[in-house]
Symmetry: C2
Subunit: 246 residues, 2 copies
Amino acid sequence: MSGISKNKIKWIRSLQLKKNRETEGLFLVEGEKMVQEAMMYCKNQIQYIAYTDSFVSEHLADFEHQLVSEKELEMISSLKTPNKALAVVQIIKSRPSIDNQLVLALDDIQDPGNMGTILRIADWYGIQTIFCSKNTVDCYNPKVVQASMGAIFRIQLSYVDLTKWLKACKSTIYGALLEGENIYTKETLSNGVLLMGNEGKGISKENIEYINEAISIPRFGKAESLNVSVATGIIVSEFVRRQSTN
Amino acid sequence: MSGISKNKIKWIRSLQLKKNRETEGLFLVEGEKMVQEAMMYCKNQIQYIAYTDSFVSEHLADFEHQLVSEKELEMISSLKTPNKALAVVQIIKSRPSIDNQLVLALDDIQDPGNMGTILRIADWYGIQTIFCSKNTVDCYNPKVVQASMGAIFRIQLSYVDLTKWLKACKSTIYGALLEGENIYTKETLSNGVLLMGNEGKGISKENIEYINEAISIPRFGKAESLNVSVATGIIVSEFVRRQSTN
């Protein structure tokens, strides 16, 4: 028989809130595939796995695990339709290096879907490092974790005082601005920091002054802007295209 | 004094459902900016505007309009936080041409956010025409309309039997497939149809056979896939980049 204690339910649910994730240094990973990826990429960070009998894994014995009913999984899940497993995973704070690579800097990205999608773009293109302003949505927010499709396990994220960080940064800082230089015709796009701004307000005033190279996706139609995750995808694509075909 | 009739409330709310939009040939546009764009781009299609006293426009007199209270706007709105105005707009069915341009074909895109974002990408890059399979999410779904940020007023959309349509299509059909040719190194990407597939399943089996050129965004990291709207943005960007810099 399964049987998850009230305290465990309370503990897991509490991790849906940022302040509790910060105090405990833990976050939630949900769904069959995501839990399997966590088992592969964050083996040493997994504290607990709850799973239903339809979850199949040969490696469960390596972790603290507990069989739960569908109903119990629903009780601890943040998803509308929970899917076979949930893991509690330790947050590791990293101090990633930024030399000789393209890194992203995110200035107050608010939407969890956008944040997760940007992580996925970084993961696709082999970007290993993202710096976020303190007001950027928490990357351990369950919605971000889900939208990242596993990228959260492979990318080093660091929340910093972004203005201070940009000021001290020795790499070229590229900033995506509507009035920047056309990325298609700009002579060089080399490794450095790509700074992307908030969904509505763009890059904040105090950070704009640290941009070394203002860049822009040229517009051919009438839309006022592109979604920030789409813009990130297009600009990163252009950086990588040039590096990979030169 | 404002005062919106019960019948009007019922009529407007009914348009949140696809079947009613189809029967009536009408859809909803919400929010100050979107209603202003509709007034600019779809002048002759607007049937009715409800607005609160904080909505400012010199052109209201050109339309059937009605002052409503914040509370009344809430009653007719599909948004969590309604914003100053709502318009009822006529759907125009178009038979767009596809010659000598890049057009998009969408194979069962399901998520309203993705659909709106794809419309916005098309609008940014000057793509005027999108063909959708019958099972693609309705572009007049309020969530799609909002996410399109006005693109819905400028792009011609047509829902077709996509398999039949692709079969009859005389332009080059480019299909985004994981195992397609690298878009960065592929020799030519010329005008034609860019076919994008469903979020989970990709391009359907029966449509794959009509692809003339399978293309792909090369992967450098570990993510399994990109979000379909991001992938659309990156591929369209590469088509347009080549055309604009040649």
